[in-house]
Symmetry: C2
Subunit: 360 residues, 2 copies
DNA sequence: CTTAGCACTCTCTAGCCGAGACTGCTAAGA
DNA sequence: TCTTAGCAGTCTCGGCTAGAGAGTGCTAAG
């Protein structure tokens, strides 16, 4: 629902109220707005304008004869029409970029953890990163390596250059020297198949395979949850609990925050679904589907690995510095895209190398 | 500092005060103790005994004319002399054992996460699990597998049956067909060496190796942090934030709890150093080195993988159900030891298999 | 040594008051 | 018509008081 455009003066006053409230966490009085010099009029005039802003639902008084605080709609107007997404300074960009280069280890779990950590440190807010589901990542090949007596390492690589591995156990006599055959066969089946379909594909082809090889593939199949699926901790990572818990406004629903921390799925759901398109999405207070979140806002962006999107974002009180955070998320999403798609995405380089390249 | 043994009546009254306080979170009055039927005397007598318990420093009054609450020393006496570590029921044991069997995937990170989750669910408290450092795990072999054009997978296995892997990049022409040679050489160097010494050992031997092989080993060496060291999230895991945040007594130092959540090292430090000996260790309130923890207690136990110990424990308010938690931690430590040492630790089975075996 | 009884202390809640902070309104001025 | 000074009105907040309730310590009797 689009709101009518405000007059210039209304906009200035709305802005002043919001920015002052973000700083002080207190209701903003007409005289405070005048003191800010955001508008060259008297407090009585400001009061009149505030009244009209209140009628439009953009600000409200907690009680008669208090100052005004922004409503969700007020923040929404501010985010959409008033604020300037703050571009990061050269220094800040350099710091972030340096950090990302050093966390590039090729291991998705470490990347996800590192992104959260850096965003959280920068924003001084809770940050969450969700890895792409990987379901639509396309498999390149599967290898089987005999480790010792009876243990076998299965390694799957994807077109985007990620690697997953898992160990399983099978007696040497059961393998009957058919390890390489089994790997070649599975690679033939799966090459070009999305990870999400791997299990089904192998299952459907298994029947036609003669016995010693078949046993090997069956054992491989049993490990597929480990080989093809990401564990919770590898898929979702948050950082910055201290910031959100420090906010006095959250001490009352600390229990909800605790539940979020414990439930990776819930956490992922919060940021998933926003910003698949590549922009930065801001969700304010009551716009959130979860009612427990009605005093929190989300700033979420996305990045892309191979064919699928992951998300990263910042969660804080509605009273947050939107301009700064939008700038941050935007820049991080840019860096991550660079990191994973490399220069022209056919080069099929491992993420660490891409980063090393960027740096030196 | 050992305290004098209390009389039977004193002990009963101390116990009554503590157990009632644990239930209600409120100061316990003399009449409440009488109501509990823990002692067949009048409230006036109870008051006299309470006075002497107060002189001994085991309980105190928040203010004149309030009931008594236990001091840390009171809890300490209770834990050491009064409470019965509650053994788990058959049902509870079965539940836990079932859970552990299902989480056995051979991946240390998943085990650590799963142990925390189960303990937390059971105890309804924050639970923390620390993986053994692995520094003293002994390497068995190192393999190198060529993945595609220019990527190589390094796999290290240890005597205890854990596997770590990492990918690095090296052009085919640079390898010069010496991949197998390099792996054999490194295995020869490292077989029997503790993981913690691996990097140093390889570095010191590298000089004497002729060139094409040398390049390969040098590249391998560059990946060693990934290959031989555990990432934070794999090493420490907590679960049950919701429980600790739900406690009203913690809302005031929520900030500290947030910091704990954010800092895996701090979390690990809290439980490390307790209970290397195999027993269950209880740390109560002010006994804790960190002053922020002066209203929290820890119940910690240890388990063993290969040569080193990991810890797992429960963190909650001093007002916690010690008997139950000691029983839990004790049982979990027993299960984990079984899971990882298998039947006779020379069988060198991967953890998942050991668990599968236990189950059926 | 135990216990009934009682005076005493301290907390907790509700209610009240005055100070302070802002507002809305009104009426005068540009 | 818009702006502004001035003022009355409203609401919060902190401090204060009073009364009820809870629980103790003490005393003296059993």
């Amino acid at each position: 629902m689009k709101r009518a455009k405000l007059s210039d003066r209304e906009e200035r006053i709305l802005r002043s109220v919001i920015e002052c409230h973000i700083k002080t966490a207190k209701p903003v009085s007409s005289s405070a707005v005048v003191r800010n010099r955001s508008v060259p009029v008297s407090s009585a005039t400001v009061r009149n304008v505030m009244r009209s802003l209140e009628e439009k639902g953009l600000i409200l008084q907690p009680h008669t004869s208090a100052g005004r605080i922004p409503t969700d709609a007020g923040y929404r107007y501010y985010v959409d029409n008033v604020m300037e997404p703050r571009n990061l300074t050269e220094q800040e960009r350099a710091d972030l970029e340096g950090g990302f280069a050093s966390l590039a280890t090729g291991d998705l779990g470490a990347v996800v953890a590192g992104v959260s950590r850096m965003m959280s440190d920068f924003a001084r807010q809770l940050a969450v990163t969700v890895a792409p589901s990987g379901e639509r990542e396309v498999i390149e090949q599967v290898k089987l390596v005999s480790l010792e007596t009876d243990r076998i390492l299965a390694v799957a690589t994807t077109r985007a250059g990620l690697t997953r591995s898992a160990v399983f156990e099978l007696g040497r006599e059961e393998v009957g020297g058919k390890l390489a055959d089994a790997a070649a066969l599975v690679t033939e089946w799966l090459s070009g198949t999305p990870v999400g379909d791997a299990e089904r594909t192998v299952k459907s082809r298994l029947g036609a395979v003669p016995e010693p090889t078949r046993r090997v593939i069956a054992a491989l199949l049993a490990t597929s949850p480990r080989l093809f699926r990401l564990r919770g901790a590898e898929r979702v990572h948050y950082e910055g609990a201290r910031y959100i818990l420090r906010h006095p406004e959250f001490s009352h629903n600390a229990a909800f925050i605790g539940e979020i921390f414990d439930d990776e799925e819930a956490l992922a759901d919060l940021v998933r679904g926003h910003a698949e398109s590549g922009g930065v999405s801001v969700t304010i207070g009551g716009e959130n589907p979860k009612k427990e979140m009605k005093h929190m806002s989300l700033v979420v962006g996305s990045y892309r690995i191979g064919g699928t999107f992951g998300q990263m974002g910042v969660i804080g009180p509605t009273r947050m510095r939107y301009g700064r955070l939008v700038g941050l998320v935007d820049y991080v999403s840019e860096i991550l895209d660079e990191l994973f798609s490399g220069r022209g995405r056919r080069t099929r380089r491992s993420p660490d190398k891409a980063a090393d390249g960027d740096r030196g």
